[in-house]
Amino acid sequence: MNSNVAGGLLGLPNEIALGLLITLLLLLGVIAVILYRARKQVDLLRNVNQDIVHKETRLSKLLFWYNTRLNKTMFFLFLGLVIFLFSVVGWYGRAQDLGTQIGYAPEQPIKFNHKLHAGQYNIQCQYCHIGVEKGKQAGIPSLNVCMNCHNAIQQGPQYGKTEIAKIYKAMDYDAEKREYGNNPNPVKWVRIHNLPDHVYFNHAQHVKAGKLQCANCHGAVNQMERVQQTATLEMGWCINCHREKQIDSKGNKYYAATYDFVEKHKAYTVAQMGGLECAKCHY
């Protein structure tokens, strides 16, 4: 999980905290039952020779109370309420995440391995995603970018020739003769990070102007064989970062000329420059 998301109990993520709580409660219940039964055994042993028939024990009082009809209903209602409350609390967290697609890792038409390329070979993200500092979209590389290397490298360590052959097929490239045909057919990648249509997001603003690392939002892509979504991409997630992240715009003449606090203060947030205003992203 991203550390920017505010934590639940003890700073733990909501799900784990809730699980812990429930386990603890269950444990307590079990202990209570064991203790109760032990106490009963001790009582029985202690009173074995006494006349206990007419004596009102605590248990019988409790049983009588329980046996009156109204109280029976109340008891079950109470139990129901407790269970209901627990499930509300439990599911609230889940429901919030509905549709966020966290962990979404669809299979791609070409099994491109980011762990290999970005991790092992340490190729910079910007080498392929060239739009990231220029504009709105980081961009999926066109196949001629792949060919910068795969012109020469025709076999990979993991899938052998099969996946690389898919590039050649899409480009209508004959690897033997090293010739391009006239029938290219673009690859249809599955989009992983989806924002709603009413949100305007610009990569250049965050990467070039805001100097963020790709991993801040996309996670450790260099550890992923198949890329998955690691952030919720919810508005709350965006806003949190805009509120909390201390940004570094030192040396950028635009900020210095526009906001007088940029030079005066060491640290400030996007929010201080209006980063929480609606029309920054919605128009």
């Binding site: 673009p186 990648w189 305007y200």
Partner: protein
């Protein structure tokens, strides 16, 4: 002293407080919301039982649950296989090209996103349009995505292939040519050097071919007058920026005449006023109908169309008298306020810096105008005879002869250009269609099946201008290039290429154009980017000034130096101008016809009708009549009262044995006993091709055009008109969004300004309303965006409205919705009238509206007009923000009033509480609804949408955002470039296109900015300051060059 300020009103129903108007103005929404239907007894009577209710509820909940379980749709990303080098997804590319929306040929910069053009802007340093673009130019982009365009060539109304068509046409042309049959190529005004070369090549191959140029609304007499006097077969280049006095007899040069954007730029430049300035361009207009130009004139007098000639004689002789030259007639006609005399005086005072023009297509009228300009010494100064205008080149005599020959079967083959539509624009109409279809060969190059293409045997559809290569030479010595901004959408081919193919030259037109340009301009073949005279650098810039361009003429002040002599020396027959005028003077009719008359005119949006299938233009309310979607007959209120007619009554108009019927609008400013009819309506295209144009009902005004003295004549006498006894519903917006007659527009005169009256009311100067406020003051730590609109510059041309719609994905709602006051335009131009007193003084006392009500003698002919563009005012204390229950409107630290669509639930409280009436409620899902079939609901039309702006869903409120997407983009570019944001870098869509430079936008925190200067200008005011809304939009009061208001 009581201040004598004019009382303004928008329509006659407001002036007369008609019950319907009073009722309507009280509500923000025209129709009651159907709450009564929902809450009445029928629907609330509980016939549903408890069990049914539970069943239904259970079903709905489970259905909703199941529906919510659908899988998130899988979206695909499809990158290029080979990415073009200079293209990045999400980043706009810009191409320089030329506007073909009308013949003015303004230079354009087209913004393309992901390979599709989405917006046009004027090219900033083009000497023609100087960064401006008009409503028609802005709308051309939507015509590109018209799904009614022809998808393939046609032979006998059936789709065919180019190879087949080429073969058949070529065989027929050869046969006709060898047998000596006449071949005619009929086009609009072609001025591109390479297009003309292609035509010449065609004529060289087929020697019997003749090229005839034809303008639907002709300038032939103007051209011929200059041909007779100076031997120059063209229209002079008008230089309004240098003019001190302009007299126009009927010519709507700011709206439709010749080159409106060019003229508006120059005109408003010459009328710019700064503090302490004592002179500005003085503008006289004599006309029959209130034109856009007339509505901006300092002095305007109405005159019968049949009297134009007499006005010119009178003006000529008054000027001649002042200059001691011979008179040519015996008319001493004078109009209100001695305006002709005053015009003559001002012209002489501004000797050499005046312009006289007339729209009349009568050679005698034009010869008089030539003589007046010549007497005043305007030629060589404000009228340029070297860099002449080639924007209209049509020759009436040839066209009239062609029609005769066609009818008698003397033309064996006719090829008709895409920019002309003779079957529609010539009075012969249907007979001509028959003649064309019976010719040995008839080919149309039309993009779509228009009236003429339907009559032709072959249609060889040309590309849309935004898909074409080409060049245009709107002014001699200035060539503007046309380059494609998108790959052709359909299987079309440009007409020049077709012509060349039929000569056997199978060249690609791009190569042809490049080769010709390189040769004629002597370009280097070195295509490296450093070479500024390379072909590619020309394309990048979009235009070139050739050797015949007078270098400093347009850039520096004219001081009567050698520039003038070089121009004049080439003209031999200058002395004869007076002789021609004397001859003409004898022929001009000097008496007004007593009868009812008709003046045919072009409207600002629809013009000659070539673009009438464009929904943006149809929905645009006409600046004068405020009617959208329909053809109307404009009549004077006095005549209507006499005939007992009112708005929307239909009349039958008969002239020369032809009858048309049209609903009327009572138009202040219209000459009594004159009916104004507009061109461009009554289209009959093929069903699919005319899905918008055909829907618009109306007459075809071209059917009334007759020929007089060898020229097409657009004013008719001997008219009878009577009520047709029925009414027709019109969509007119003139009184929509009413602001209850508050003091919103302000004006002063140049003379009064010198005395310290800047059009400000006294209380505003004291700043009374600003002292106390319930709200905390806003702080604007970074930027503080603001806008200033100069009412003195604004001509009301409506270009900004279309530009705004294109930039911000504003939907087209159609006539029925406009009638319900549901037009979605984010900005509108309010048009206010005020009227002089009963004596007909042009400039004098004003009366209270309620006093005028009883005064039956008011002369509505003498109205004055003020335009006021109105968009969201971005108030600091915005009334809309406080009433929103879901906080969907709030204020930004940059001074923007932000409307959040995804938060809006559509209560409409904000619209109700907005004193400026600038909020628009989205009633339908316009983009996905068959009912709104205005290009934007189909796959192709949607390509015009701006991907950086949301298309709003049904049920939300929307409004002007100050083009926040451009602000954000501008800031980002500055951040990326590690530099400060320059003033003028962020321009709103309305500002950028404005042909009058009336709108200025910028950062009010920047003390060096243009906006800061204007906000602190003495003419600056905001509207409704008494409400303490503190608008971010400022206005500068209008200044007239008239004498002070007494």
């Amino acid at each position: 002293m009581e201040k004598n300020t004019p009382k303004y009103w928008k329509g006659l129903d407001e002036l007369n407080s008609e019950p319907s108007f009073v009722r309507a103005k009280q509500n923000e929404f025209a129709e009651k919301l159907p709450m009564g239907d929902v809450l009445n007894d029928d629907t609330l009577g509980l016939t549903t039982g408890r069990r049914d209710f539970l069943k239904l509820m259970g079903f709905s909940i489970s259905a909703a649950t199941l529906a919510a379980c659908s899988k998130t749709p899988i979206k695909k990303i499809v990158p290029y296989v080979f990415k073009p080098v200079d293209y990045e997804p999400g980043i706009a590319n810009y191409y320089a090209t030329t506007c073909m929306g009308c013949q003015a040929n303004c230079s354009l910069i087209v913004k393309t996103k992901e390979g599709r053009p989405i917006k046009v802007e004027g090219t900033d340093n083009s000497p023609i349009n100087k960064g401006g673009a008009c409503a028609v130019g802005q709308a051309t982009i939507l015509s590109l995505y018209d799904s009614g365009r022809l998808a393939a060539p046609q032979s006998a109304r059936k789709a065919t292939t180019w190879t087949k068509l080429d073969q058949e046409v070529q065989v027929k042309l050869n046969n006709i040519s060898t047998s000596g049959g006449k071949i005619v190529l009929l086009t609009g005004s072609v001025n591109g050097p390479t297009s003309l070369k292609a035509i010449n090549e065609f004529k060289a191959k087929y020697t019997s071919a003749q090229h005839i140029m034809y303008d639907a609304v002709s300038f032939s007499a103007l051209i011929d007058a200059h041909k007779q006097v100076f031997g120059i077969d063209a229209i002079p280049g008008y230089q309004f920026s240098e003019a001190g006095a302009v007299v126009s007899v009927g010519a709507d040069f700011l709206g439709t005449w010749l080159s409106p954007v060019e003229f508006t730029k120059d005109y408003t430049n010459a009328r710019k006023v700064d503090e302490g300035q004592t002179t500005m361009l003085t503008h006289f207009q004599f006309e029959s109908n209130l034109s856009l130009t007339g509505s901006n004139a300092d002095y305007r007098a109405v005159v019968a169309p049949s009297q134009y000639g007499e006005v010119l004689i009178s003006l000529h002789d008054k000027v001649a008298k002042l200059l001691g030259k011979p008179a040519v007639g015996n008319s001493t006609l004078e109009l209100m306020g001695n305006s002709i005399g005053l015009a003559a005086k001002k012209l002489v005072e501004n000797g050499g810096k005046g312009i006289v023009i007339t729209s009349s297509n009568d050679i005698n009228h034009q010869l008089l105008v030539v003589s007046i300009n010549e007497m005043l010494g305007n030629y060589g100064k404000t009228l340029n005879l070297q860099n002449v205008s080639l924007q209209r080149r049509g020759n009436d005599a040839q066209v009239i002869n062609l029609v005769k020959e066609l009818m008698t079967g003397k033309v064996a083959a006719i090829l008709i250009g895409a920019d002309v539509n003779p079957v529609y624009t010539l009075a012969e109409g249907k007979n001509l269609a028959d003649a064309i279809s019976k010719a040995g060969l008839s080919v149309s190059f039309s993009e779509k099946l228009d009236e003429t293409a339907l009559a032709c045997q072959y249609v060889a559809p040309t590309h849309n201008a935004l898909e074409s290569w080409g060049d245009a030479e709107p002014r001699r010595g200035f060539v503007s290039f046309i380059q494609p901004t998108i790959t052709p959408i359909f299987n079309t081919r440009q007409w020049q290429e077709s012509l060349l193919h039929w000569t056997g030259n199978n060249v690609n037109y791009h190569d042809y154009l490049q080769a010709n340009t390189v040769t004629t301009l002597g370009l280097s073949n070195d295509m490296s980017s450093g070479n500024m005279r390379s072909w590619e650098s020309l394309l990048e810039k979009g235009f070139v000034k050739t050797s015949s361009w007078i270098p400093n003429y347009f850039d520096k002040k004219i001081d009567g130096s050698n520039i003038v002599t070089t121009v004049i020396s080439s003209i031999s027959s200058i002395a004869s101008a007076g002789n021609y005028a004397a001859m003409a003077g004898g022929k001009v009719k000097t008496k007004a016809a007593g009868s009812l008359e008709i003046i045919l005119h072009e409207e600002v949006a629809i013009r000659d009708g070539q673009n009438s299938n464009n929904p943006w233009l149809q929905e645009l309310p006409d600046p004068i009549s405020k009617v959208s979607w329909d053809a109307v007959a404009l009549v004077s209120p006095k005549w209507a009262a006499e005939q007992d007619l009112s708005n929307e009554d239909v009349i039958d108009i008969t002239v020369n044995g032809k009858t048309i019927s049209a609903p009327i609008i009572l138009q202040p400013g219209q000459r009594d006993k004159t009916i104004a009819l507009a061109f461009g309506y009554g289209r009959k295209l093929e069903e699919k091709a005319g899905k918008v144009a055909n829907k618009v009902a109306g007459y075809n005004a071209y059917s009334l055009v007759n020929v007089e003295g060898g020229y097409f004549n657009y004013s008719l006498t001997g008219v009878t008109a009577k009520s047709a006894g029925k009414t027709y519903d019109l969509a007119f917006t003139q009184t929509h969004h009413n602001m209850e007659g508050r003091d919103l527009v302000r004006e002063t005169t140049l003379a009064e300004m010198a005395m310290g009256n800047y059009g400000q009311p006294e209380e505003a100067e004291a700043g009374g309303a600003h002292v106390m406020s319930m709200y905390r003051d806003w702080r604007f730590p970074g930027h503080h965006w603001g806008m200033a609109v100069d009412l003195n510059a604004c001509t009301g041309c409506n270009a900004c409205v279309v530009s705004c719609s294109a930039e911000n994905n504003v939907p087209v709602v159609g006539k029925d919705e406009v009638r319900l006051r549901r037009e979605m335009h984010w900005m509108r131009i309010d048009r206010y009238f005020s009227v002089g007193d009963t004596k007909g003084e042009m400039h004098n006392k004003y009366k209270e509206i309620d006093q005028m009500e009883d005064d039956k003698t008011i002369n509505y002919e003498n109205v004055k007009v003020v335009y006021q563009p109105l968009m969201c005012q971005h108030c600091e204390n915005a009334p809309c923000e406080n009433v929103c229950p879901v906080n969907a409107i709030n204020h930004s630290s940059e001074g923007l009033n932000q409307q959040v669509y995804n938060r809006c639930v559509g209560t409409k409280y904000c619209a109700n509480n907005c004193p400026y009436k600038v909020r628009r409620f989205n009633w339908f899902a316009y983009y996905n609804n068959d009912k709104f079939d205005y290009h934007l609901n189909d796959e192709l039309g949607k390509m015009v949408l701006n991907p950086d702006v949301t298309t709003r869903m049904r049920g939300v409120m929307e409004k002007c955002t100050f083009c926040v997407q451009r602000i954000q983009m501008g800031k980002l570019e500055a951040k990326k470039g590690n530099r400060t944001l320059k003033d003028g870098e962020v321009r709103t869509a309305c500002q950028q296109t404005c042909p009058a430079n009336a709108i200025v936008f910028g950062d009010m925190n920047d003390k060096k900015s243009e906006i800061y200067k204007l906000v602190n200008n003495k003419r600056n005011y905001s509207i409704l300051t008494e409400l303490n809304t503190r608008p971010g939009v400022h206005y500068l009061s209008k200044v007239r060059a008239t004498e002070p208001i007494a």
